[in-house]
Homo-oligomer: 230 residues x 2
Amino acid sequence: MPTTVAEPGRTTKGEQTRALILHTALDLFRERGYEETTMRLIAHEAGVAPGNIYYYFRSKEHLIQGFYALSLDEHVAASQPVLAQETDLRARLLGVMRAKIETSEPYHRFSGLLFKSAADPSSPLSPFSPESHPVRQACTALFAEVLTGSKTRVPDDLQAELPNLLWLYHMGIILFWLHDKSPQRVRTYRLIEHTVELIARVIGLATVPLLRPIRTRVLRLLTDLRQDTS
Amino acid sequence: MPTTVAEPGRTTKGEQTRALILHTALDLFRERGYEETTMRLIAHEAGVAPGNIYYYFRSKEHLIQGFYALSLDEHVAASQPVLAQETDLRARLLGVMRAKIETSEPYHRFSGLLFKSAADPSSPLSPFSPESHPVRQACTALFAEVLTGSKTRVPDDLQAELPNLLWLYHMGIILFWLHDKSPQRVRTYRLIEHTVELIARVIGLATVPLLRPIRTRVLRLLTDLRQDTS
DNA sequence: GTCTATAACCGGATAGAC
DNA sequence: GTCTATCCGGTTATAGAC
C-alpha cells in the first residue's frame, strides 16, 4: 500500500495516537458539526487527556489540516476509474469534478471551515499557505493528469498554466457546493456539467487566430502571477 | 446629507450608543487587529459594560457586518469622481476597482475576517447571505452604473448579468489583495489593470458571430444560476 | 527525549438584577 | 438600556510518567 499524503509511513506509538485523535475528531465533526464538537469531547472519545491533543495538533483548526490530506487521498482514489478509462478531456474533467463532490459529501456540514481560513493570509490552514503546498500540489497534479491523459492536444504554454487554473476553478465549485441547499446537490452537479462544457470549448478555441491577442494577454498575466505566489 | 447604508436616519439614544460601540470597535480592529481586540477592551474604550455590547450586536463577528456597510459607503463616495468624468468603460471600471482597494487599505489587516464567513452558509455574515443582501445589492448597483454610464454599448442580455459577474470579480480581487504582501500592494494594482483590460476586451468580443454559441451558453448558465440564489 | 495528565487562564457569550 | 456575575470552551503551563 502506497504512502499517502495524509499519513506518512511511520507507525510509532505517537503516530498511532495522532491518527486516533484525528479520526475521532473528524468522525465527531461529521456527526455533530465543528462548533458542537468540543476539544474535551474529542479527548474523551479518543481516551486521552484534553491537553494532550495539543501535543499533536497546534489548535482545533489544525485538525482540519488533517482533513485536507485525507480528503485529497479519497479524491485521487475516486478519480482513478475515469482517468483510466476515458480519453476525452470533457469526460475526464467531469469525472474528476464529480469525484470531488461525491467524496466530499459526507463532510459537507463542516467543509466550510476549510474556506474560513482561505481568507486569512497568516493562517497555515489557508489553501494558499506554504503549509498547504503539498496538498495543493498533489491536487494540481491530478488536474495535470486530466489534461495529459486526454487525446485533446493542448498547446504547451497553456498546458503549463491550466492545472493551476483548474485547481482554482475547483475551489470555486466547492464554494458553490458549500452554499448549495438543493436536493441531492443537483445545482452543483448541473453547474459542473455546464462549466466543464464551457472550459472544454474555451480550450478548443485557444488556437483560433482572432483570439490570439487575448490569449497572449491571459498567459502573460498568469505567468506574471505565478512569479512569487507558487 | 443622504441616509447611508451604514447608518439609518434615526438618532435615538440607542442608535448613538450603537454607533459609538461600532466605531470604537472598528478603530481598535484597525489599530490592533481583530484577535487582539477583546470585547472587554472595546467596552472599556467605549465606556460601556462588556455585556452591553451584546444588546446591540449579536456577537463579536457581527461588528464586522457594520464594517461591510461603512466600507461600501466609502467605496461609493470614492468612486464618484471617476464615474462623473470618464465615459470609457475601461477607465470607469479601473477607477471603481482602484477606489475599492484604496478605501479598504486601512482595514487590510482585518479584512480577512470578512471572507472567513464567506464559506459558512449558515453565517449571516457571509456576503452571499440574505442579511448581506442590501450591501451586496448596493455594490452591484455601483457596477451597473459603471456600465450604464459608459459610451460602450453593452447588449441587453449581457447588461442584465454583468453587474453580478463584476461583483464576483471584485470579490476575487479582494481575496487576492488580502494575500498580497508586495510593497504598496503593487501586485494587486497590476492585477486590476490587466484584468480590467481583459474584461473590456471580452465584452467587446461578445458580439463576434464565431463566439455566439459560447456566449449563449454562458448567458444560459448565468440566468440559470440566479434562479434561486438572488 | 517522547509522551500524558492536571489545573489554571483567558476571552467570548449569557442570565438576570436594576 | 445598562450593569454584574457567571458560564463555557479553546488553550497553556507545568509537572511528571514511560
